[in-house]
């Protein structure tokens, strides 16, 4: 089964078991992570560091194909990563450090939960690490 772990920058990143081949993250979280295979750099700033993993930027992200297939509701970088995982056909998605517990996440959390819903509807297994507010009232 194709599995991927998505890492957010929250404290609960420490619970991540790093037991999937693919470990994807966004922004500067790669500096906190023990291992990363893909970085999503979705802001306008140029990424010019020398790293040993693939970097997906605004220019290389397959916006058109993903939007055509799933819609255009993206409230933060995690949404882009989730959509990318669905687009690439992953069957199990694990989220660690994606806590969404701060006030600034009020606008972001619904989008992440939408994509989790899409994944669930597609029959994809979702595992949310401890310490996350996702899918909790």
């Amino acid at each position: 089964m194709r599995e991927v772990t998505i890492l957010g920058g929250g404290e609960s990143i420490k619970y991540c078991p790093y037991d999937t081949k693919e470990i994807w993250t966004c922004n500067r979280v790669y500096k906190k992570a023990k291992r990363v295979t893909k970085l999503f750099w979705m802001h306008g700033f140029k990424f010019d560091e020398d790293v040993d993993f693939q970097v997906i930027t605004k220019k290389t992200y397959p916006y058109k194909a993903i939007i055509e297939k799933f819609g255009d509701y993206f409230t933060d970088s995690v949404c882009y990563i989730l959509a990318y995982a669905l687009y690439k056909g992953y069957k199990k998605i694990k989220l660690y450090g994606v806590e969404m517990n701060l006030k600034r996440h009020q606008e972001e959390r619904p989008g992440v939960e939408f994509w989790l819903g899409v994944a669930k509807g597609m029959g994809i297994q979702i595992e949310i690490g401890e310490g996350s507010c996702l899918m909790k009232r």
Binding site: T75, P110, A119, K120, G121, M135
Partner: protein
């Protein structure tokens, strides 16, 4: 199959009444004013006093008359005085492996998916093509205690809308609803406000000019865009704030 999930927010006015209508709480009173129809009503409450006057919101007798007329009423709580069916919360939670319900709309979407999906070899699939219309589900209502739907409930509703989408359900949401929209209606990280979106009348461009010249320009804009309803003083005030 086409269903309308009808909330109580302003975009309910856009409902076309062409499909089966599922309503929420006391939405049937608005439906009556709009000369619409309702086939199911969903509740997730016992009796609730109105915060403004303490009068009970739900009129069980009134709702019983609807039940007698053929409208099915579902509640997650058992109400002795009400002729209703119990919402199958256990079966739905088991089928979808979650008990994430933050409001009644989430229960309604879950019920629609529960009713129109089946498991084939362990995978959920639609029994037949399904379309869900969301009218009046704007997610902008202020809730008691300083909270609002946007903060507390939007994510959960969108989770269930997402699940519907993932199952292949056709989703119809009006532009005036906040559902599946970012706060600035732009893709995250892709684009930001353009100057004309923030300042459609070009007031910011007036910075540094004299008050007289700005007034002249505002008057011309007012005439150009036919802004009779807007007070000139308000425009001047806005303009001065921009200059500051």
């Amino acid at each position: 199959m086409e269903l309308t999930i009808l909330g109580m927010a302003p975009s309910r006015e856009l409902c076309d009444w062409k499909s089966e209508v599922w309503s929420v709480n006391t939405g049937y009173r608005q439906i009556s004013e709009m000369n619409g129809h309702v086939e199911k009503i969903f509740l997730a409450h016992t009796q609730v006093p109105d915060p403004s006057d303490g009068v009970h919101i739900f009129d069980w007798e009134e709702m019983n008359r609807l039940a007698d007329a053929g409208c099915e009423i579902y509640n997650i709580h058992r109400i002795k005085e009400l002729k209703h069916k119990m919402y199958p919360i256990k079966a739905i939670s088991e089928k979808f492996e979650t008990n994430y319900f933050s409001n009644t709309i989430a229960y309604m979407i879950a019920y629609a998916l529960y009713k129109y999906t089946k498991k084939v070899e362990g995978k959920l699939v639609l029994k037949e093509p399904l379309k869900l219309n969301f009218w009046g589900v704007d997610m902008l209502e202020r809730l008691p205690g300083g909270f609002d739907e946007y903060t507390l409930e939007k994510g959960c509703v969108e989770y269930w809308v997402g699940m519907a989408k993932g199952l292949g359900v056709e989703i119809n949401i009006p532009q005036s609803s906040e559902l599946l929209k970012t706060f600035n209606r732009a893709l995250y990280g892709k684009k930001w406000y353009k100057l004309w979106q923030i300042d459609p009348f070009g007031l910011l461009k007036g910075k540094g000019k004299t008050k007289e010249s700005r007034m002249k320009r505002l008057t011309s804009l007012k005439n150009k865009y036919n802004l009779d309803a807007m007070e000139g003083e308000f425009l001047v005030e806005m303009d001065e704030k921009c200059v500051k």
